[in-house]
């Protein structure tokens, strides 16, 4: 994918073989790395990170990690790019808000409830929209998001356009661990699934759904299951968010800009991978947070620009691009350009 002289410099500083061995190491010790990452993430509050700006930013980073990875289960692994994942988030957020404030349930119960309500909603909506493909699926999910937003705006129980204010909330540290725990759990689940039959079927659906069907897989079942799994984590994260934010209204719960943000995160990090979306979420959220502090109001302009540049420049994302780079040595050993490159382009145009 790259030619030119600056490539030679890059190759001498960072040989593809070394990148490849890093990937190999990560692949072999993924469980250990995940465990170490989780422990490292849990340390800052123990060593004196006080509640405040930095803890909020870190919690939000974990939150976006959850959302981006959930999006990627359906968008990246299964190849159904949804523009409506925030509908699950909003439904989860409203469910906890209503359960905690109006019904008086304890917060942990309410959060589990949020996840379950989102899953039920996903099952019903999924049966309808997962039959669609391409443009139609993307727009239908966007329609689901906006319809859910409008319904919440008009109902009595959700507090209408002014939303709900939640005053009696747990301390910030609780949310820090909550989002961290959810993120680690989700990464473990996604990583585990990516090596099971279930994960392989999802990837097969992404690569060629007809072929997957003709091999005897009930693709609707797999798609709906993936969609519900994404809804479970997104809904639970939303359930945590409404109390974390102490305030929820249709605009924040069903935030269309966030939906693009989490797609951008998954894409920048590398969609279809386990660690990519999380890396993308941490990176992009840090950048957005810095821009938001330095130039208020410009963060969404940046988001739009970031999406355009990523899509045009390196649609494989960070992990995907690196993996391609790492595979370069293998590629030369197998005969270089003559053996692979032209074939690849032909296949691409045939589709």
């Amino acid at each position: 994918m790259s030619t030119g002289s600056e490539d030679g410099v890059l190759r001498s500083i960072l040989p593809p073989g070394r990148v490849n061995s890093v990937f190999g190491f990560c692949g072999q010790h993924a469980w250990t790395l995940l465990f170490v990452g989780g422990v490292l993430g849990a340390l800052p509050p123990v060593f004196g990170l006080e509640e405040g700006y930095y803890m909020t930013v870190l919690s939000e980073m974990f939150l976006f990690g959850i959302l981006a990875l959930s999006w990627d289960i359906v968008g990246g692994q299964t190849g159904y790019p949804s523009f409506g994942n925030m509908a699950f988030f909003g439904i989860g957020a409203y469910t906890t808000a209503i359960l905690v404030k109006d019904v008086g349930t304890a917060f942990p119960v309410a959060m589990v409830g949020a996840g379950l309500v989102a899953v039920v909603f996903a099952a019903i909506i999924g049966a309808a929209v997962l039959r669609l493909r391409g443009h139609y699926f993307a727009i239908a999910t966007l329609g689901v998001l906006l319809a859910a937003q409008q319904v919440s705006r008009n109902l009595e129980i959700t507090g209408g356009a002014s939303g709900k204010i939640l005053l009696d909330v747990p301390p910030g540290t609780a949310f820090y661990y909550l989002f961290l725990g959810l993120l680690v759990a989700e990464m473990a689940v996604v990583y585990y699934l990516s090596n099971t039959r279930f994960g392989f079927v999802l990837n097969a659906i992404r690569d060629d759904e007809e072929k997957a069907t003709s091999m005897g897989f009930n693709t609707t079942y797999y798609k709906t299951a993936a969609w519900m799994l994404a809804a479970l984590f997104t809904g639970a994260a939303g359930g945590g968010y409404s109390l974390f934010n102490t305030f929820i209204n249709p605009q924040t719960a069903y935030n269309g800009a966030w939906n693009v943000e989490l797609i951008a995160m998954a894409l920048i990090g590398g969609s279809g991978t386990v660690f990519g979306p999380v890396i993308g979420a941490f990176g992009l959220h840090t950048i957005i947070e810095i821009v938001e502090t330095a130039f208020v109001g410009w963060q969404l302009v940046l988001l739009g620009a970031a999406v355009i540049v990523t899509v045009i420049g390196f649609p494989e994302g960070l992990v995907g691009t690196l993996r391609e780079y790492a595979g370069e040595m293998e590629y030369y050993k197998r005969g270089g350009m003559a053996a692979t490159s032209t074939d690849d382009t032909e296949v691409a145009t045939d589709e």
Binding site: V129, G143, A147, R153, V301, G304, A306, V307, I308
Partner: protein
């Protein structure tokens, strides 16, 4: 009687929706992408007319003729914007994954919208067109004159585009590219240029419709997405690539919205529209009139 009034209102607004949707359908048919930044062209068109009038008169008010005189200028500006977007950004992702084309246009949409907020603030604005007598009444149905002008303008824009596609050489080239880009290239049509022109024309029509929308409703930087989605509803309803279908779809959507607003509550119009979108997609993904499109 009230129902008749709602339907008339709906038809008047619906023609504008149709004019927006026609451009959306054109890009979909010819370039084979869903332009999620289409609503932003409506918004930019509204603002262009607003600023031209403001500079010409000092306030955003004027007579009908003065307002109509801004329309060609709006069309020209938006043509350049659309042509430029296709040539610089969208062209690079054509032929790749559908999802990437959607994301690029979504990125453009956000960037334009947010830049507009930075430049012009998020306050809604509108163009005041002065009449001696603001509305006329036919058999008990009240029709504001400006809505009638907007209706006529929207129909004129749609008809102009239809004639352009049918009668001119460029129009034929556009239709050829929409049918088969490779064959079109074989007979000597510059496919990339034709696509860019298509983008330009579509944006120009959307911009013209946006200028009319600024006179009867209002404009604000974040209005775009709703118009994009309405266009999508209309095109799905009327069938991809069918201009008469889009016109009927627009008029129907306008009527449904006004009836919902009149009989239930104006808060529910958008919820009804989006639910209609999902139901339509699931039940009739090929549209009611359209040629069979790949679902």
């Amino acid at each position: 009687m009230a129902v008749t009034q709602f339907v008339v209102n709906g038809l008047l607004v619906g023609a504008l929706f149709a004019a927006v949707a026609v451009g959306f359908a054109l890009i979909w048919g010819v370039v084979d992408i869903i332009n999620l930044a289409h609503g932003e062209m409506v918004m930019l068109g509204g603002y262009t007319a607003y600023w031209i009038l403001s500079i010409a008169t000092g306030t955003a008010e004027g007579s009908v003729l003065l307002f109509l005189a801004t329309i060609p200028a709006v069309g020209g500006v938006l043509f350049v914007v659309g042509y430029g977007l296709q040539r610089t950004l969208v062209q690079r992702v054509i032929g790749t994954d559908i999802f990437l084309t959607l994301l690029v246009t979504f990125g453009i949409s956000i960037a334009i919208q947010q830049l507009a907020i930075q430049a012009w603030t998020a306050n809604p604005r509108s163009i005041q067109v002065s009449f001696a007598d603001t509305s006329l009444s036919v058999a008990g149905v009240v029709v504001p004159k400006m809505k009638l002008v907007a209706f006529a303008g929207a129909i004129a824009l749609t008809a102009a585009m239809y004639l352009f596609l049918q009668r001119t050489r460029t129009g034929r080239a556009i239709r050829a590219v929409s049918q088969n880009p490779e064959a079109a290239a074989l007979v000597g049509i510059d496919v990339e240029r034709t696509r860019a022109v298509t983008f330009g024309i579509s944006s120009a029509i959307a911009g013209g419709a946006g200028a009319f929308i600024a006179t009867i409703l209002n404009i604000q930087p974040q209005m775009g997405l709703i118009y994009t989605l309405k266009s999508f509803i209309i095109v799905v309803f009327g069938g991809v690539g069918s201009i008469p279908g889009a016109l009927v779809g627009g008029l129907l959507l306008g009527s449904v919205e006004e009836l919902t607003a009149g009989l239930v509550s104006s808060q529910w119009t958008l919820a009804v529209s989006f639910t209609l979108l999902i139901v339509l997609l699931v039940v009739r993904p090929n549209g009611l009139f359209g040629e069979v499109a790949e679902p």
